[in-house]
Amino acid sequence: MTGRASDAECPPLPLNPLPLKGRRSILPGLAGVLAVLLLVSLLVGDGIVALPDRLILLQIRLPRTLLAALVGGGLGLSGAVLQGALRNPLADPGLLGITGTAGLGAAMVFYWGLAARFAPALPLGGLAGAAVGAGCLLAFAGRAPSGPSLILAGVAVSALSASLLALALSLAPNPFALAEITFWLLGGLTDRSLAHVALAAPPILLGVAILLRLGPGLDALSLGEETAASLGVPVGRTLRLAAAGTALAAGAGAAVAGGIGFVGLVVPHLLRPLLGERPSALLPASLLAGAILLLTADLLVRLAPLVLPLSQPLPLGVLTALLGAPFVVAIARKAPLP
């Protein structure tokens, strides 16, 4: 075809060099911050800053640090993928109901008293719940593979799991179980062991691997599903992979850490001013920034007793919600929703 350009005859113009140069240093910068925070997190205990002995380091701080990074990274990446796939700046793993069904699964374990007899039953219940929620979503996404219908299905799954959870709470066998369920639902990383890490890490890492590969498809989807299809992107498959990857990355996180909200929602919005709005450019950075955000929040939880007179540690999920909710209001005011 005439008019087809070759690189030789049409040299690329410099593409606004300063911001691009800045953008290239963001990923290494985030990785550096993450490394520092991982170290700090190993050194900081509940209200104390000191190098702990080996047992505490391995049994308490290491699992907590690893889980914060894994869960936060999974949530951040899930949020970036969902916002891109659904073209909705307010999309979040919680929106698809996967966090809700994971909570329901965990509550069932409490309800039948399985957690007392078999320690990993709790995260396993959460994982099973996340899988059920994801299964419902995928079955739906297979039939009507379009973004808005996926959101509606997620809202329905969310509402259903919330009402079943309320039922489980109202039928709770004893007040002790009720208190345990409630506390778990608030979300946190205290008293998690390396067994929890072993349970959560494989699904989270698998989910992350699935989600990180969706970049070009998400870029194409920013022009709408029809245009993406005309560009040769398998739209239904991309949405299904996004839902499955989210179920693994965010669902497994919710299974071990309870209901931690707003990380997936907030992280992409923090990164867009730095990296631009192209969905694929946000994916690796969201993974790192999610880990950084949750590690920071967990450090704040641990350091809070130094400043605030708290008898109990502040639940991590409560902290992220306290910080995240005003942020969402700010987004909603700033961005005209599509």
Binding site: T2, A5, C10, P216, L223, G224, T227, L231, E277, R278
Partner: protein, 267 residues
């Protein structure tokens, strides 16, 4: 159903001998080597409801085809069927067929250059030259680093068009690319597509502005109630198009804007 080589169908039309409205450029290898895109479907359904009936058409390289017809006649569906996006229609190679839907917009604040670069997704490369070339052709090279949601509507439309050009397709399918543009901008886009067709590409444009379509297109397909009511050289298509809309037609004695290039004014 599938694409045939030009040698099978380019020389003569398979739609009842519709002559090529412009004399083909003799000895132009591009025009002779191109590929004819065909669509032949007894019915095309949308959401289980038949929308188009008895569709059989071929689009030749070097041809600018305008699709006209009343709202709901099935113009957009015809374009989607040509793009191979509907069930039952032949799938197209996304590297060779580019489709611009009606009212295309970008969900995020990508830069103009990033939007155009999306056109390289079918090729799975990040070649800069076709993107720069596309921006140049669409006249928005200077806007390349501006956010596509912070420029004017006409400029954003050009950015969407640049995405189509960046794919370097053989067949352009554009659904109302000039809707809600000012007359000069609409004429500029139609001129651009004219030149693209002259360079040997096949171009199909859904166009509501009949006068613009008649001035710029080689051929006009008039759709009415899901059927092809007429498939004629554009200059002869006014009576059929007017009949489809149920409007009278004739010479307009009122003063009106003329295109800059008076060669394009119909006789």
């Amino acid at each position: 159903m599938n694409r045939d080589k030009a040698s099978l169908g380019c020389a003569e039309s398979d739609r009842g001998g519709t002559p090529h409205p412009q004399p083909p450029l003799r000895g132009d290898p591009v025009r002779d080597a191109g590929e004819v895109f065909r669509l032949a479907c007894p019915t095309i359904s949308l959401h289980n409801r038949p929308v188009l009936h008895d569709i059989a058409l071929a689009v030749r390289p070097g041809e600018l085809v305008a699709v006209c017809g009343p709202n709901g006649a099935g113009k957009s569906t015809l374009l989607r069927a040509l793009a191979g996006l509907l069930p039952g229609t032949p799938p197209r190679d996304p590297r060779r067929v580019a489709y611009l839907p009606q009212g295309a917009r970008c969900a995020w604040g990508l830069t103009v250059a990033q939007v155009a670069a999306l056109g390289r997704i079918p090729h799975r490369d990040s070649a800069q030259a076709p993107v720069t070339h596309a921006l140049q052709r669409c006249g928005i090279l200077a806007l390349r680093d501006r956010r596509v949601d912070r420029i004017s509507g006409g400029e954003a439309r050009r950015a969407m068009l640049a995405r189509v050009f960046a794919t370097e397709p053989d067949l352009f399918l554009l659904d109302e690319p000039t809707a809600d543009l000012d007359p000069a901008a609409a004429q500029a886009i139609m001129d651009l597509m004219r030149d693209t067709a002259k360079a040997g590409c096949a171009v199909v444009i859904v166009q509501h502005a009949i006068d613009l379509a008649i001035r710029c297109a080689d051929r006009m397909i008039v759709l009415q109630s899901g059927r092809i009511a007429a498939d004629l050289p554009a200059r002869e298509a006014l009576p059929a198009a007017a009949a489809a809309f149920g409007l009278p037609f004739g010479l307009d004695p009122e003063p009106r804007l003329l295109p800059r290039d008076d060669r394009l004014v119909p006789p």
